[in-house]
Amino acid sequence: MILNLCIVQTSLKNINFVSVGMFFIFVFATLYITYRAAKKTKSTSDFYTANRGISGFQNGLALAGNYISAAGFLGITGMVALQGFDGIIYSIGSLVGWPVLLFLIAEPLRNLGKYTFSDVVAYRFRQKPVLIASAIGSLVTIAFYLIIQMVGGGALINKLFGLSYFSSVIIVGSVMTLYVLFGGMLATTWVQIIKAVLLLGGATVIVILSLSHFGYNPVTMIQGAVNRYDISVVSPGSYISDPWEAISLGIALIIGPSGLPHILMRFYTVAHAKAARKSVFVATGFIGYFLILTIIIGYAAMCIVGREVIGAGEDKGGNMAALFLSDTTGGPAFMGFIAAVAFAAILAVVVGLTLSGASTISHDLYVNVIKKGKASDKREVRVARLATLALGILAILLGMLFKNQNVAFMVGITFAVAASANFPALILSIAWRRFSTRGAVYSIITGTVLAVVLIVLSPTVWEELFGFKHALFPLRNPAIISLPASFLAAYIGSVTGREPESAQKYDREKLRTHLGIGAY
């Protein structure tokens, strides 16, 4: 009887005009709403100070929106659908980093009252070297994040319009570059809030529709999946069998969120430390709920749609599992809606990332380092435009390179890069008195370079992309080596390059970081 619960329906091999129509209607509706909302926020008053009035709850929802990217949603559900139990590590792992962020970083960051990651790290130290190092760290993290969004967006267009993956990636990249060049800043708080509500709502509807096939009982659904395949779908070890790999991925997922520039940025926007605290609680609640949904959607896709369908076609990473499921359970119109929500969300993330990357290059590097603060606004804007174009081309190329990867897996290695590049410098500048300019630079450079090199030498790139026989580094996730190395580099740099001025600054800064004295 349970066998019959798993109905195979393999529709949508070709383009479905209902889906495509719904897709366009909802993409434009979402873009219009965000445009209106962004305009409203802008006219109220200045971007940063206006955001000081964001309440803890609103900021929590915005944090959740910033964090649960559509690409992550597509990737995690696909991972669970194809890999079963081992895919769940991505669901669970995506939340466990948040208490770390709350206990160690959220409140001190808020009390410091700086706007960007570079500002916080550079506060105590000599500006120039730290700005260059932290710009490199941020840009590499942003590049990896862009790959995730390009692969997710590319697979989405590929499935919906039946175009080849390569032309899909070029379309996503071009749309995003044009949007940034001629549109401008839309990645404000309200955009993230709207995105969070749409994604949470869409995922909830998929779950209700799927569970209706199983009498609203998740256990029946999982039994259906076991009957369709075998007991391995609920047992560990099918995907991540090496314990070192599991530990490395775990480190990346736990520390990663505390090193993501676009998440850290959100703590400068609330009124006081209490609101920062509350916003993390709200965000963890929404993200946790969402991640539980991704587990159910993953298993539902496995049982109702089937692995043969999800893993077939051009998208080997299974990133379209949630779309197949929404098509089977809710029909082509519903799938068009989910695709539109996912695509609009991907666009919002990509635009935010490209903008912060472009401003790192134009503001931190060009104006402050190369021109030493003396450059006209016109030139700065021109450099920002050129940087946007360069980032767009880079994103397209990288998106093509990582074609067959699952998006959730890419999130894992991106978190490893973020954790190794940014976290040690950030936490040590808050907590260690003797931390110095040289220590910060050593730490950021070591973390970034080592993480990227180890990823290139890993089976994912060395064997699957370059086609060599044996990977020079056995693990797919580098965090277990690159994060401790980054801390070690910070220690060596600080011990060999003492800086009494920075220690003095720390004594004053400490009152502000931990007690909020002088914070506004």
Partner: protein, 49 residues
């Protein structure tokens, strides 16, 4: 491999438990920080000023 009922391993509810536990942990911290920690911080602030 432990099964809690037919075909459902203990890992599934444990995983969902970790998600809920993470959320509760942040909740406990928020209550503690608001009720205890902030009061201590205020005391130190007064001593300094």
């Amino acid at each position: 491999m432990r099964l809690i009922c037919k075909n459902v391993t203990i890992g599934l509810p444990a995983g969902i438990g970790v998600l809920i536990g993470t959320w509760l942990l942040t909740g406990i911290y928020v209550v503690w920080a608001n009720k205890k920690h902030d009061i201590q911080v205020e005391k130190i602030k007064k001593k300094i000023q």
